[in-house]
Amino acid sequence: MEDSILELKGIEKSFGSSEVLNGIDLKIKKGEFITFLGSSGCGKTTTLRIIAGLEMPDKGQVILEGRDVTGLEPHERDVNTVFQNYALFPHMNVEANVGYALKLRRMPKPEIKEKVKKILELVQLSGYEKRMPQELSGGQKQRVAIARALVNNPKVLLLDEPLGALDLQLRRAMQLELKKLQKKLGITFLYITHDQEEAINMSDRIVVMNKGVLEQIGTPDEVYNHPMSSYVATFVGNANIVRGKIVQIQGEEALVEISTGKIKVIIDPNREQIGQEITIAVRAENILVCEECKEALPAVILEKSFSGGQLRMVIGLEDGKEIIASRYGIDSHVQIGQKVCVGWKPADAIIVDREEQNDEKETF
């Protein structure tokens, strides 16, 4: 309990008639790299703005190091933000941008100069002090924005999709750099992204958000390998969602009947029983495609494409439902229109949406 640096308690927020946040409860540990992951409009940026003080919650509390800061102005909080579009002051040079927070704290000028120099070294921008923001590249602007937010030594650094505007290669490099920086400084990073790869690469913990609620909080391994809901399974793991009914249980193995056939799934005998409807998530790379196999579903290959070293296939089941399968390398055997069977190892099928059968959640 003592090591939680930031705590959100029952945060609710609506804009007009649309509810953006619907009861956010979260404890963030000191020195943690935590990522809010969700598609656009899920409320992740609003959550960040509430923590920064740029937005007031309708209900709930923001507690920073044991102090309730809910009603405080942004300048009264010990958190700093890296904005999505950098938000550098266009009329100030790099040095003035980075040193602005220190100037506000009435630090003597030589000291500001020293600190700015140090932090610019840290983000590898030494010698850029006199440049104006418009003379910098996207990646450099991003570094200035990070330096500007870090110079104040905030308790928590909030980063709102900071790498969104950069190209893929630069983004990958910056991911590593940010992670290194965070480890070195030991500052708590609260990172926002809609890119699951980014979240998995950088985070200690991931918070998956959907429609104003937290779907799942866990380590990258937990959310990727053990998704709790179909939304998490599809958003983080690119999983296929299949619904079916348990018709037979043998130890931990159950036979599940879905619309076009029967398939084996590993279940928890204490929670599942015969006759129960369940939702199963199977990641694309775990879908097996074979010409003849047992306990598989007859299907036909509809589409195939190759990208990022992966072959991606869209396979249609007999009832028209589409299954996405992917594997490394090019498999020249599969042809569009070819009749195949799809299946998966029972252990690769993950039961999701266990507690509540919430129809509002994104389904396949």
Partner: protein
């Protein structure tokens, strides 16, 4: 191909001549020696000399400058605050309020002038510099309001938010961030408003009172006794001043646009 490009050029030339020939005429004849404006008798600067020694005109010029500076100053404050305020709020009647704010430059001047005359006599305000400043401020505000409003649209809201996030109060954010960013717009709005105030006859003539003359009124009343080359000389001076002001305005505008590219 050649014929295609010729016609627009001829058209352009004709329009330019029609528009600017009278101006050229005035400038040229301000250097004419003869008192008659009809015939050229030789080059001379004597009309500029008599202009310089004309007490009445000099006083009127001074009045016009004071009036322009005062009304621009007052409307700069009102117009800027108004534009910033309008950018922050978001209610349904916002569009109407904005429209009303720019109305003074769309109402015919003669009507505005009459309205001011009636209103100030109703209030028993002594006609003079005060009434002139009030009237001029009214039609100067929209220029500054519109300029600043347009500039604010181009400024990313998160820039001000970043300042607050870094520890600046709202007031500090205004002076450190918002004001420097909108300053080019405020300045060019002011210069435009000044140019409008400086050459206004219609509204001024209703509210200037018996003793106080502004430069345009002075010129206008002098014209009744015939055009003298002295007036030509004066017009030339004003023309050069206005061109100079407009040049500065557009230079400021360009600078503002350049800093925009920062984000």
């Amino acid at each position: 191909m050649k014929n295609r490009t010729k016609l627009p050029n001829i058209y352009l030339a004709v329009i330019m001549i029609i528009m600017y020939l009278p101006l050229v005429f005035v400038v040229v004849f301000s250097f004419n020696e003869s008192k008659l404006t009809a015939a050229w008798t030789g080059f001379s600067l004597k009309w500029y000399q008599t202009l310089w020694h004309n007490e009445g005109l000099r006083e009127a010029l001074w009045n016009s400058i004071v009036l322009g500076v005062l009304s621009c100053g007052v409307s700069a404050v009102i117009g800027t605050i108004g534009a910033i305020g309008m950018a922050r709020v978001n209610y349904k009647s916002k569009g109407i309020v904005e429209y009303i704010s720019t109305l003074p430059i769309m109402i015919p001047e003669i009507i505005l002038g009459m309205v001011f005359l009636a209103f100030f006599s109703l209030l028993n305000l002594p006609f003079g510099m005060t009434t002139l400043v009030i009237a001029h401020t009214t039609f100067c505000i929209p220029y500054i309001f519109m300029m600043v409003k347009a500039r604010l649209v181009g400024i990313d809201k998160s820039i001000a938010e970043a300042a607050r996030d870094l520890g600046a109060t709202q007031v500090r954010t205004f002076f450190d961030i918002t004001l420097p960013l909108i300053m080019p717009a405020v300045m060019s709005g002011c210069l435009l408003a000044f140019a409008m105030s400086f050459d206004d006859v219609v509204i001024s003539i209703f509210v200037n009172g018996p003793k106080l003359n502004t430069l345009p009124i002075k010129i206008y009343t002098q014209l009744k006794t015939g055009v003298t080359p002295e007036i030509n000389a004066l017009c030339t001076v004003i023309l050069i001043t206005v061109i100079f002001i407009l040049f500065i305005t557009s230079a400021l505008g360009n600078r503002g646009r350049r800093t925009d590219k920062g984000n």
